[in-house]
């Protein structure tokens, strides 16, 4: 009966909405291409020693053992029991209040405050919980920008923003061009220039979005810069979104300064902008728990909080996870020791990468935070252009077998920069990666490519302890995908 009509029917693909079919999700950028390549041929010290090493994933695997030790000590949290052994499940099963579990919000507010050296106090009622920072950023965009409105974002910026902020909301991103001349710091002139460019394109600028510590630079924003940016948004009457998901990774001096701290210092002078400054936070990087999908928006703007809270029903955190994390973050001793030890380990790994690169003549932007380094490989390129960068990147992915993110995918204006992540692998794997890179650099100068191909796998196989360790570090499920 139905089948009679089928004959004169159009292909179902035409039935898709424009959003579903269109490309503004940026999946085709080189950032994602590298991912696909990695998924086809992932490195494994035993089963696939010549595979691609994933250095494009900003994931913190350095401190799992601490989370795990905590879980071991507090089995009640996972078993959804109170200390007296009574089950809390009955309360959790039907809990779907989008205001979140009060205990969790209180614990999160305290933890965020701790990350900022208790210089800023967070009001739990101003926190909106979302399923990850991705969702938090998008919800903020929905709240602040209409279709066709623009946000200014200093470049280089996280490649995923092109999808997260623009795809469904229809908002636009106008890059604020920063250069290596001043270490990619944001300047007032650059902001003004971007603002003018937006106006020329007839875009209504709704705000500035910064990542602090910066992704992909791995640097914290100096206090003076933050003051300048606050000044700028105050003068223009626009919003400021500060994405501070890496705040707990700031391992070196000068330390991390939150925009909220700057606001607090401005005191009465900040009154005019205080409800236009919004902070995005997440536990994915600081606590190394991206699988838990916990993000948050912090805003003193009642209207934004109320709208974002309602929107959060499109991405709520499971009550079980909230309960578990409330217990974990409520344990002050644990968070204190975790944060300190985690930073120490990140620094150690960061130094390993930076030193290794220096030995082979590659320099990095000096950084003090993040799970990655911003690496300058321009001298390895055949031509100083984005074509040259692409050529080098392809070589690094396909020949050297390292998936790193090219600067062009981060909208960097200068060719030759790459984001290299170091916290999602074991120290041994990082060694392997450095070895490969060393041979590559040598081969480009004296052409000993054959030597390199033989050397790398042999080394890792001959090292049983390394294998065992690396094995333990490999993710368990075969279907595991990736950050972005």
């Amino acid at each position: 009966m139905v089948s009679q009509v089928v004959a004169d029917e159009k292909p179902p693909q035409q039935l898709l909405s424009k959003k579903a079919g269109c490309n503004s999700h940026g999946q085709d950028s080189s950032y994602f291409m590298g991912w696909q390549e990695y998924e086809k041929n992932p490195f494994d010290p035993v089963s696939n020693p010549s595979g691609i090493i994933q250095m494009g994933l900003a994931e913190n695997q350095l401190s799992f053992d601490m989370v795990e030790a905590w879980l071991e000590k507090n089995p009640d949290a996972l078993g959804l029991r109170r200390e007296d052994g009574a089950s809390v499940f009955r309360e959790l099963a039907l809990f779907q209040d989008y205001h979140g579990l009060p205990a969790f919000k209180n614990a999160l507010a305290r933890f965020m405050s701790e990350q900022r050296g208790y210089k800023v106090a967070f009001d739990p009622s101003n926190i909106v919980l979302t399923a990850g920072a991705t969702s938090a950023n998008e919800a903020l965009m929905f709240c602040l920008a209409d279709h066709g409105d623009a946000f200014l974002i200093p470049t280089p910026y996280y490649p995923g923003f092109d999808r997260d902020l623009k795809w469904r909301t229809g908002a636009e991103i106008v890059p604020v061009h920063c250069t290596s001349a001043n270490g990619f710091r944001v300047t007032r002139a650059a902001l003004d220039d971007a603002y003018r460019r937006a106006q020329k394109r007839r875009l209504r600028v709704k705000g500035v979005l910064i990542t602090n510590p910066s992704n992909p630079l791995g640097t914290t924003a100096p206090r003076a810069d933050l003051e300048m940016i606050v000044e700028f948004v105050a003068a223009r009457g626009i919003h400021l979104v500060s994405d501070e998901i890496y705040s707990g990774t700031a391992f070196g001096e000068p330390g991390f300064v939150s925009v909220l701290e700057v606001m607090a210092e401005r005191g009465a002078a900040a009154a005019d902008v205080s409800d236009r400054v919004h902070v995005v936070y997440s536990l994915s990087k600081d606590l190394g728990l991206p699988g838990f999908r916990v993000g948050a928006i912090y805003s003193s703007n009642a209207a934004v909080v109320s709208a974002a809270t309602k929107m959060s029903s499109f991405g709520l955190i499971s009550s079980q996870t909230q309960y578990l994390l409330a217990a974990m973050l409520g344990d002050k001793d644990f968070t204190r020791s975790y944060v300190a030890e985690n930073k120490r380990r990140i620094k150690e790994r960061h130094d390993q990468l930076v030193d290794g690169l220096r030995e082979i003549g590659i320099s990095c932007l000096e950084s003090n935070a993040g799970l990655f380094c911003w690496v300058d490989m321009s001298h390895l390129m055949r031509s100083r252009s984005f074509a040259g960068e692409m050529e080098l990147w392809k070589k690094v992915v396909f020949e050297v077998g390292l998936n790193i993110s090219p600067g062009s995918s981060c909208h960097c204006r200068e060719p030759g920069w790459f984001r290299v992540c170091f916290a999602n692998m074991s120290a041994k794997t990082l060694d392997v990666a450095m070895q490969r890179l060393r041979s590559f650099v040598e081969s480009t100068t004296n052409g000993a490519a054959a030597l390199r191909r033989a050397a790398v796998p042999a080394r890792s196989i001959s090292c049983p302890i390394a294998i065992k360790w690396a094995l333990r570090l490999t993710p368990s499920s075969g279907d595991r995908k990736a950050e972005r």
């Binding site: 039935l15 078993g79 499940f89 929905f142 469904r168 626009i238 595991r480």
Partner: protein, 557 residues
């Protein structure tokens, strides 16, 4: 080409215009109306008179262009944002908790539509304006009122009895018992005693996982859905897991329709859809009324009419959205109707979305048929237009765990939805826990059986209780609701009368029900009552309270 055509066909009208212009000449003299369109009506024929036939085209273009540039001028002059007035006492972020929340800051012009009701006028309302869109729905108003003053047999016996929710507390004890026995181990997936194995499992929890759900959960869900939907098989690769059925519905809508497009929705329908679907996607929902005389069955003729009307208004209809078992009526959509619907959507080349979140919560005598079952029976049918929404909030009483499913037969939709799922994915420990729970075959089949028995019993009790006070109910077969006909107790047979009765039920009887008007029911006097949050001992109290309203109504007569 076009111009000459316009001129040719315009020759007749030009003549007519000339006549009309001369006749309206005196009217013109009486004074140009300030309104732009009034001016246009005068200018266009005048130009035609002055310049002859060719002038008609140019003559109509010139004022149009002038008008356009005028609008553009106004728009551009309005563009510079006036600096928002400094909020009276906007506190710095470090201010003590209380003060920040007491200061209600004005909405700045730079806030977007997301904060404002689409119906709100352009000037920015106060911060509370953000809540407007909920306030106008009695559904949300009742829920809020209830949250302020909830009934409790011991601590607040005078509180409001909540019949407006969509929760099932009848079988919660079964799930609780399972959790108590298995939760800790299951969430960690600590199968082995071995130290190394355990570390592996924590790694599997904490790191980035596929945003659209881990494969293990998809397989477990496919098995569970198969069990519920009577042996229809589901393919895990056609599934996208989201944090609840709410985002599942929104994501699917994002994939199927563009802003300004519409879905046809047989009404009465679930009041939450108005927010869940329309808010961020910009999609319209067009209610297609079903009638009580029809047993609230979906009428294809009504759909056809609504489709054509929308087309006339220039609105592109992208799909039909149904819930099965229906929320609020609790009716199963008959297999024949599903066939007809599939035929309808195929003929119009649009989608069919079937929300089946209550598929496992059935108690009626009839047989529930999922659209998946019907699709499976058909040969050479293009399945790419059929999509199913499912979730565990209702059938497993696990609303807090936020697990929803998009099941689509269309590969491109699955791909697109999986990408959007990054904005609402489920926490991995929860997924692991559910894998363990859904894989416990004995538990699941016991649960489904006992839950169905309890639903049936409670439904019986509830319908009998309403019967005692003279309220008749629609014969439901699934879901958590009783669809009650209280039209004989409303003063005036209108939405206003219904609202009045709802107010009395809430304030005098202290019972919160959902009025039919918020479900877009066109017949006044119907109310949706959720009976699964009640306990048996609450029923006599409920009867007493309802009597207050019904008896006084009889007295007034």
């Amino acid at each position: 080409m076009r111009r000459s055509g316009a001129g040719g066909s315009g020759s007749g009208t030009a003549r007519r215009n000339r006549k009309s212009s001369s006749s309206s000449g005196s009217a013109r003299d009486r004074g140009a109306r300030p309104r732009a369109d009034g001016g246009m009506r005068v200018v266009v024929p005048l130009q035609g008179v002055v310049q002859g036939r060719g002038g008609l085209v140019i003559g109509s273009l010139i004022p149009c262009a002038l008008f356009y540039f005028f609008q553009l001028y106004i728009k551009r002059n309005r563009a510079p944002r006036p600096l928002p007035p400094p909020p009276p006492a906007a506190a710095a972020s470090e201010s003590p908790p209380g003060s920040a929340s007491t200061v209600v800051s004005p909405i700045h012009r730079s806030l977007s539509r997301g904060l404002l009701s689409p119906r709100a006028a352009l000037p920015a309302p106060s911060a509370r304006g953000a809540a407007v869109r909920d306030d106008d729905s009695l559904y949300y108003a009742g829920l809020r009122r209830c949250a302020e003053d909830p009934y409790h047999p011991a601590s607040n016996p005078a509180g409001i009895i909540q019949l407006g929710l969509a929760e099932n507390c009848l079988s919660l004890d079964l799930v609780v018992r399972w959790m108590e026995e298995h939760a800790a181990g299951a969430a960690l997936m600590a199968g082995g005693e071995d130290e190394e194995e355990r570390e592996l499992s924590v790694r599997g929890l904490a790191t980035y996982q596929p945003y659209d759900g881990i494969l293990a959960l998809k397989m477990a869900l496919a098995g569970f859905m198969r069990q519920i939907m009577k042996e229809v098989s589901f393919d895990p690769s056609q599934m996208v897991i989201t944090s609840g059925a709410t985002p599942a519905m929104e994501i699917l809508s994002f994939c199927l329709a563009d802003p300004g497009n519409a879905f046809l929705v047989p009404s009465p329908y679930y009041p939450g859809w108005d927010r869940d679907i329309k808010w961020r996607t910009g999609i319209e929902l067009i209610p297609v009324p079903c009638r009580s005389t029809d047993n609230f069955n979906i009428s294809i003729t009504a759909l056809e009419i609504a489709y054509n009307q929308a087309k006339k208004r220039g609105i592109r209809v992208r799909g039909v959205l149904i819930s099965n078992p229906n929320n609020p009526t609790g009716r199963f959509v008959p297999k024949q109707t599903l066939h007809d619907l599939l035929e309808f959507v195929t003929e119009k080349n649009i989608h069919l979305i079937s929300d089946e979140v209550f598929a496992g919560s059935t108690y009626g005598s009839g047989k529930f048929a999922s659209v998946a079952e019907v699709v499976d029976d058909l040969e050479d049918f293009d399945r790419g237009r059929v999509h199913i929404i499912y979730g565990l909030s209702k059938d497993l009483s696990l609303a807090g765990f936020r697990v929803g499913v998009i099941y689509s037969y269309n590969e491109s939709i699955v791909t697109a939805a999986a990408k959007i799922a990054r904005f609402s994915s489920v926490s991995t420990p929860t997924q692991r826990l559910l894998v363990a729970m859904l894989s416990d075959q004995k538990f699941i089949s016991d649960y489904l059986k006992i839950n169905s028995e309890r639903l049936r019993k409670m439904y019986r009790l509830f319908v009998d209780a309403l019967d005692q006070v003279g309220i008749e109910c629609f014969k439901s077969s699934g879901g958590f609701y009783c669809w009650a006909d209280m039209s004989k107790f409303i003063g005036s047979y209108s939405e206003k009368g219904e609202r009045k009765l709802w107010d009395r039920l809430l304030e005098e009887a202290k019972v919160n029900v959902t009025p039919g008007s918020s479900c877009h029911c066109i017949e006044p006097g119907w109310f949706r009552c959720c009976f699964t949050t009640l306990r048996e001992q609450d029923i006599p109290i409920l009867v007493e309270r309802l009597k207050k309203v019904t008896d006084s109504h009889k007295l007034n007569r």
